[in-house]
């Protein structure tokens, strides 16, 4: 048995006395003189939170936790903006005919809705997770390049503002759809300044993302704590690592393609101009070479979120950890060779090849689904808010996954492409799953970030409203698409049931809006509440739970021994043979004499001293 492959088949423990479990709070308190009482949050109240205290402090911070919070808040603001723009779309489509907005404005609205959601909300929220969690999960004090990190954040903010300001430009915002196909996006068909602003905005946010990816990769490769081997990293960190590599591969291609587009527009270059030897299809190849990895760049961090959550609330290890890592790597690799499934209907790509790669990518994705179910199988599952939202994620993702397999068949895509079926599909996989996992993440890590829990009752309300609202909004769009309603239209033909399905979808939007209310109330209530939570409120597994909530500046003044991918679990069960990794107790004892900066497991620790020190472990 190696440390890499711990034997976890031990018998379940009967009648464990909860007091015998080691709590991180007790360990943290152990070294503070007089801080023996590990319960309650008083000792955390006086704790240096490590977050900026002034506005200038926030504006100039390079701290990964502060920037992580800033990323999260900023991207949630963009979610609200994108969601409001979706309201304009749903209002316009609630009835046939044109009611609220002009065609020009409608086109700008769906373009900016899509662009905001993809570039300014979903991807940056992944970076929020990367910022806040990666250093904590690998036992590092910060990202490798803190100032570069701050620079990335501000590039993103300015990029976002420029995109939104497009609505104020002469001629309105960009209105060529989020994938900006030339010649429609060229100077002839889209002359306005709004289009240029859209291009510049995406180059800026793309550059921001590229820099963050470099930062995350450098951090994970260079700053892991002693003992944190690659195969002991939490899946969340693994996914962010793979995501970052995909960003490095994809974003520069997008920036380059956009730069070429801007040269076409401003200086009369002819890269994409068919009237003068240019090639519109070249853009599509470049764009989708970015665009397909992009959807996994959006999704993988959120896959990571639920992979952290399922095991904690089922009290089980991640099922098939290595298979899961392998699946993620396979997805990363395959995702670079599926891009032309977005181009089946052009008739200019080798459909059979791309149909094969696109179908294949379903397999590692399916493996993940079964790993998640496997992590719950045989467990002892409780359904606190993070778990509810994770299960919501799981079912939504499966519903979006099966329609993805349908669309990966060119035979069927020839009918469904560019219809509302596609709109339904990608809102299930990119919209629904992201939003469910996003709230799972917020409910899960909120106690870490603030030291408080959010209301369970309000979370339940939010969950059910979201579940019902989401499916009411998007499910019937499958029917619309199959029936022949094209996407990106402000009005629709008098086909049977078009009116009905559209009206239901627009009604669903109202339920979605209602689902925001309990969340906002929960947040506001939490701001007024006192700090109550200790380091490890969920009895979780990874290192971020081994430090106080909120974590101090530079995160840790103490780390448990890392002998498996669940160091905090191993610590909790250290007094019990056969649970957790037996090497931990040994490492703990070894450490006592050598490192004075690492607090030894002192006698004042609640519960019994480690029984495994008696030398009876294998």
């Amino acid at each position: 048995m190696t440390a890499l492959d711990p034997d976890r088949s031990a018998e379940p423990l009967g009648g464990v006395d909860h007091d015998q479990l080691v709590s991180v709070d007790d360990v943290l308190a152990g070294g503070d003189d007089g801080g023996d009482d590990g319960s309650g949050g008083d000792e955390h109240g006086g704790h240096d939170e490590g977050l900026p205290k002034t506005i200038t402090g926030w504006l100039t911070t390079t701290d990964h936790k502060a920037l992580g919070i800033a990323y999260a808040i900023t991207s949630l603001i963009f979610l609200a903006i994108g969601g409001s723009l979706a309201g304009v779309i749903r209002a316009e489509l609630a009835e046939p005919g044109e009611q609220f907005v002009s065609e020009q404005l409608y086109n700008g609205v769906f373009t900016i809705h899509g662009s905001v959601m993809v570039y300014l909300f979903a991807v940056p929220f992944g970076f929020a997770l990367a910022n806040y969690l990666v250093p904590l999960q690998i036992g590092a004090p910060d990202l490798a390049f803190p100032r570069l990190n701050a620079f990335s954040y501000w590039l993103y903010v300015f990029g976002g503002l420029i995109m939104l300001l497009g609505f104020a430009a002469d001629g309105g915002a960009a209105a060529f759809g989020w994938f900006a196909y030339p010649p429609l996006s060229g100077a002839g068909a889209s002359p306005g300044l709004g289009a240029d602003m859209w291009i510049v905005a995406i180059i800026l946010t793309g550059t921001s993302g590229t820099l963050t990816a470099i930062n995350v990769i450098a951090t994970i490769t260079m700053l892991r704590a002693p003992g944190m081997t690659l195969f002991r990293m939490p899946i969340m960190t693994w996914n962010l690592l793979v995501t970052s590599f995909m960003v490095l591969l994809a974003f520069p291609v997008l920036s380059g393609a956009l730069f070429m587009l801007q040269l076409d527009r401003l200086f009369g270059f002819r890269f994409y101009d068919p009237t003068d030897g240019g090639s519109p299809i070249l853009w599509q190849h470049l764009f989708w070479f970015f665009g397909h990895p992009e959807v996994y760049i959006v999704a993988l961090p959120f896959f990571g979120v639920v992979t952290e959550i399922f095991p904690v609330f089922a009290r089980r290890p991640v099922f098939g950890y290595k298979g899961l890592v392998l699946a993620t790597l396979t997805i990363g690799a395959l995702s670079t060779s599926v891009w032309a499934h977005h181009m089946f209907v052009t008739g200019e790509v080798l459909v059979v090849f791309f149909a094969l790669t696109s179908a294949l990518i379903a397999v590692p994705t399916g493996v993940k689904v079964f790993n998640w179910i496997g992590s719950m199988w045989g467990g002892s599952i409780s359904f606190e808010a993070p778990m509810k939202f994770s299960i919501g994620f799981l079912v939504t993702f499966v519903a979006g996954g099966v329609t993805g397999v349908i669309l990966a068949s060119p035979t069927l895509d020839y009918h469904l492409s560019d219809s509302y079926f596609v709109v339904a599909h990608f809102h299930y996989v990119m919209g629904g799953t992201v939003i469910f996992a996003l709230f799972a993440a917020i409910y899960f890590w909120w106690p870490k970030v603030t030291g408080k829990k959010l209301s369970e009752r309000l979370a339940t309300w939010q969950f059910w409203l979201l579940m019902i609202g989401f499916n009411t909004t998007f499910f019937f769009m499958h029917f619309l698409g199959r029936d022949g309603m094209p996407r990106r239209v402000p009005d629709y033909a008098p086909v049977d049931n078009f009116e009905l399905w559209n009206r239901i979808a627009s009604f669903g939007y109202l339920i979605l809006v209602a689902s925001v209310v309990p969340f906002v109330i929960a947040i506001v209530k939490s701001f007024r509440a006192p700090v109550t939570e200790g380091a490890d409120p969920w009895e979780a597994n990874s290192l971020e739970w081994a430090t106080s909530s909120p974590p101090p500046e530079h995160n840790f003044d103490w780390l448990p021994p890392i002998r498996s991918e669940r160091p905090v679990f191993d610590l909790r069960w250290i007094n019990h043979d056969e649970v957790g990794n037996p090497d931990v107790a040994e490492a703990w004892v070894d450490r006592e004499g050598i490192a004075d900066n690492w607090r030894p497991l002192a006698a004042e620790l609640a519960g019994d001293p480690p029984t495994t020190t008696e030398g009876d472990q294998p």
Binding site: R8, S9, A10, P12, L13, V16, E103, N107, A175, Y181, P183, L184, A189, P274, G278, P280, I281, R316, P317, F319, G320, Y321, G323, V345, G347, E348, V351, V352, L356, A359, A362, V367, F370, M376, G378, S380, I381, I391, V398, S409, T411, L412, Y414, H415, S417, D418, F479, D483, G484, P486, R488, V489, P490, D491, Y492, A493, V495, D496, F498, W573
Partner: protein, 229 residues
Amino acid sequence: MSLDALLAGLDPPVTSQADETEWVWDIYLYLAIGVAAFIAVLVLYVIIRFRRRDGDELPPQKQYNVPVELAYTIIPLLIIGALFAITVVTVQAIEEIDDDPDLVVEVTAAQWQWQFDYPDSGVSVIGSGEEFPELVLPANSSVTFELQSLDVIHSFWITAFRFKRDIIPGSPGRFSVDIEDVAGYYPNAGVCAEYCGLAHGTMRFEVRILETDEFADWIAQQQAEGSQG
């Protein structure tokens, strides 16, 4: 009851290629529903069967089960392989170009109007500001469409064909269909599916399929009108 009852608005398939698509659709659809239902039931079972109860102990911490992991990798791989085979066979049939069709129609797309030319007879149909143009086709015949765009990318979608093809400026495209014995009027079947700017939403056309002799009459009538005007 067929699921398609919910899809009341969709015209029945009118080409032999669309028939191919339809049976592939059925297979994929029922499989998709089956897989989704299977996983939903599995999840439901797990959350009921393994919910936390009073006095629960620490559950078994077994992390790997290689046979199970292999099974849930290989079985999906086999299903995917079968689906892929079906797709390859049908897509190749659908993509086959008929170089000697009964009729050639040249489709010209421009922001935001369609023009249909019948080069064999010199007939040309173009939409007016108020009316969608009508694409008239003969039943029981093979047709090859030749597509070109005068400005941006459009997409020629006839829902009753279960088929669309992008029309990319600078690279004309073609495809062929075999229209079956389905004479009828399909007023909502013609759509521009690729977003093409301001009035993309109104870039539609109607489809009328006539019996072969009626079609000949129609051509003759158009020719007569054309030579007058």
